[in-house]
Amino acid sequence: MSNIVLDAKVPEGPLEEKWSNARFDLKLVNPANKRKYEILIIGSGLAGASAAATLGELGYNVTMITYHDSPRRAHSIAAQGGINAAKNYHNDGDSIFRLFYDTIKGGDYRSREANVYRLAEVSNEIIDQTAAQGVPYGREYGGLLDNRSFGGAQVSRTFYSRGATGQQLLLGAYQAMARQIELGKVKLYNRMEMLDVVVHEGRAVGVVARDLITGEIRSFSGHAVVLATGGYANAYYLSTMAMMCNGTAVWRAHKHGALFANPSFTQIHPTAIPASEEFQSKLTLMSESLRNDGRIWVPKDKNETRSPDQIPEAERDYFLERRYPAFGNLVPRDVASRAAKVMFDEGYGVGPLKNGVYLDFAEAIGRLGKDVIEQRYGNLFEMYERITDENPYKVPMRIYPAPHYTMGGLWVDYHLMTTIPGLYAIGEANFSDHGGNRLGASALMQGLADGYFVLPNTIGDYLSDQLGTDPIPTDHAAFKTGEKAVKDQIDELIAINGTRSPDYFHRELGKVMIAEVGMARNEDGLKRAISEIRRLRDEFHKDVKVTGSNESFNQTLEKAGRVADFLELAELMAIDALNRRESCGGHFREESRTPEGEALRDDENYAYVAAWEFNGVGEEPTLHKEQLVFENVELAQRSYK
């Protein structure tokens, strides 16, 4: 396998012509032939559902596999703030090039120019498409679309549906897919969890899945397989992800030869509600949009005991406004999270566990009135009060950084194909567009860009060569081998019959990850993390307890399989973080900083995508580098001052 050559297949031509050149050069499948193809899509979030709907509309036969009870539950639904597009409806100087530039810069120059430009280019089509679907976007009184600002940008380009933009966009994509289900072009398998990719003669030919209700292990066969299975931030146990989000699909693809790119690039979002105690099962995000009107501060006195509304202006440190006057409270997420961490580390944290900073709306309420604030953020304020029992209209919110998104993922070329021919990765499951840090309101943009506009155009290039071939039957030896491997792993988990629940190991893993592979990383800590993860993994395989059997609805078994994979994936995250001895985006190596303590990139040695090849559990993976070439932006040290 080590003869892998990473070919990103970036099209020829100037940046702004690459995507149209690609669409002209790619081979097409004629409309009458599309019905001869079977495409498997795993995951029904924004990327998966929009791809299924669009491929179905084009005439392909699509199989949608989701472990949820309904495709509408996928975690895209929880995205709050909004979706970016370069419409320039606000006449404030936005353009496709500016959105491209902001995204490349926001990602700290660790993403591929051509992919990011294409993303900016199709962003406008996404808004058109979703508005036509009836997505209830926020509007001005004249009936036209409204925008707000997000971190890392000096223009207003974020479209939103109150604080539930992800929900509304996902429902739009889900409904478009539902239409294709009714028309028979998409076949839906719910409560069905993909557990392995089947590779035959070097191509992805299908998947093995477990029916979560009956436990039946079964195979699905197709001409191509698309993973739209989201991110792996639950490796930290406590994150803003949903309880079931996991890395199993991408990890098992990786074990079959798909390279994993930049696994250490995780985003720690600055504005989540602080954790309160050990039992906590997840962290709840408070949308970045709140930083439009909220001001972040801590008391200047470490031993402050007064209620925040009693602390006079002069005794507050608005540390983001102080350190980054140009962007103020709207610096990108990685910068805001690290600045907050500095305040906790120095002892300025607020709240009972001293693990928060204030996000204060008093000034905005004074300026705009409570009604306006309620209209903009009412549902978020309500969510906050429900969880903390505090009223944010009266006292400032307390917020804390939380793992939120993974920029890393399966390596894909410009066509979104992994290093296994016929296996695609779209949305958060791939690594392609966000570099070292994702800007707010760009995840929804990327998921829908991949699903509605990119994959449906690029997949034909691969499929056209297979015209006239049938999918391999599911009783073929390749599938039987895959089914047996899945069954064996399940039997092994049940047979361990130890004393600790899968959740116990997940929590322990999370503690290691947040401490050593979190907001700040260093060589000693990462080495410690690797040995600690290995120890936990061994302990898991000796002492985990899985009750019940495979042949029934068994949530403990589901969880155990996911934790087993996290215990392997987490090691790769630490190895990647150890390899990259520079700070960039969300990856902050304490050894690499400027005299002022800001992140210091090392373009000479690390302007590459680190794509890792699997060599066995516990074995050293092989590093392949995709050198990043910047022809349209100048690499500069990121500054938001």
């Binding site: 709907a53 669009t54 509309e57 009870d69 309904s70 509408r72 539950r73 996928a74 975690h75 639904i77 929880a78 089509e125 808004i127 058109d128 498409q129 979703t130 508005a131 036509a132 679907q133 009836g134 209830p136 001005e140 004249g142 009936g143 036209l144 679309l145 539930a164 929900q167 509304q168 889900y174 409904q175 478009a176 539902a178 239409r179 289900i181 719910n190 209700i213 949903a242 309880m243 079931m244 309160s276 105690e277 039992f279 099962s281 997840k282 709840t284 995000l285 969510m383 429900r386 029992d389 509605y452 506009f453 629940s501 899968p502 959740d503 009750t547 019940g548 029934s552 609805f553 403990t556």
Partner: protein
């Protein structure tokens, strides 16, 4: 605090059910209801007893995956709250809490507190969309939507598809769910071409799975998104109109 759980256990759709009693001890006020369940279940696993099955995912009240009857109320008795948003500070030391699955023919039990809500997907597939093949949309600002319309469309679109409305209804009717989706799509200009076909298709599919609405209004009280039953009235009006509307004249203003 310490509370006692009486949990409905049922091994499969056809199996007989029973209540089992579990003690939840040392529960903190700050804990969410589902975190309390996690703790009880984790202890059961470590004792080698199969934990009770319960659905949840986002745990922030938006995915609609969670939803059980708590002391006879869908999602418990706190207004406008999904099960995952319920906190133990709303309970008291010594309480006995009864946990049951949604009870409705349209939602067969899979196991314990987990039910099959696929019937909701069937209703959406019947017509809960606006037909707009990818790539064919006009510029988003070509079709203005008055702010008041956009706002009320959002109120309807806030539905999370959890099924509490059905569970609350003495007739197990799904009018609130169906009408919320219909209202969102039928109120905006983009939804007009398919408006009447949509209402007929969705209502007729709904009736294959669920009972009839007799205006009890329990659904509105149980809805974690406080969706109003006004939408049911709108749906009924459109359904009647659809029976008379000449589709060939839809291009004309009234």
């Amino acid at each position: 605090m310490d509370v006692t759980l009486k949990v409905w256990r049922q091994d499969g759709p056809e199996a007989p059910g029973r209540f089992e009693t579990y003690e939840a001890t040392d529960i903190s006020d700050h804990m969410s209801f589902l975190e309390m369940c996690d703790i009880v279940n984790e202890k059961l696993v470590e004792r080698g007893i199969e934990p009770f099955s319960i659905d949840s995912d986002c745990r922030e009240g938006i995915c609609g995956m969670c939803g059980i009857m708590i002391n006879g109320h869908p999602h418990g008795d706190q207004l406008g709250t999904a099960t995952c948003q319920l906190h133990m500070r709303k309970f008291s030391d010594g309480d006995e809490i009864v946990l049951e699955p949604w009870k409705a023919t349209g939602f067969p039990v899979i196991r314990d507190l987990v039910v099959d809500r696929s019937s909701f997907d069937r209703i959406i597939e019947a017509g809960g969309y606006i037909t707009v093949p990818t790539g064919s949309a006009p510029d988003a600002n070509m079709v203005p939507v008055p702010k008041a319309v956009a706002d009320v469309a959002f109120d309807a679109a806030a539905c999370i598809g959890c099924g509490a409305c059905v569970a609350a209804c003495p007739n197990s009717a799904a009018q609130l769910f169906t009408s919320a989706k219909l209202a969102q799509l039928n109120m905006v200009p983009q939804g007009q071409p398919e408006r009447y076909d949509r209402v007929v298709a969705m209502v007729d599919t709904m009736e294959e799975f669920f009972g009839s609405c007799t205006n009890h209004g329990e659904c509105e009280a149980a809805c974690p998104k406080s969706i109003t039953i006004d939408f049911i009235a709108m749906m009924n009006k459109d359904y009647i109109k659809a029976k008379f509307k000449n589709r060939r004249l839809l291009g004309q203003k009234a």
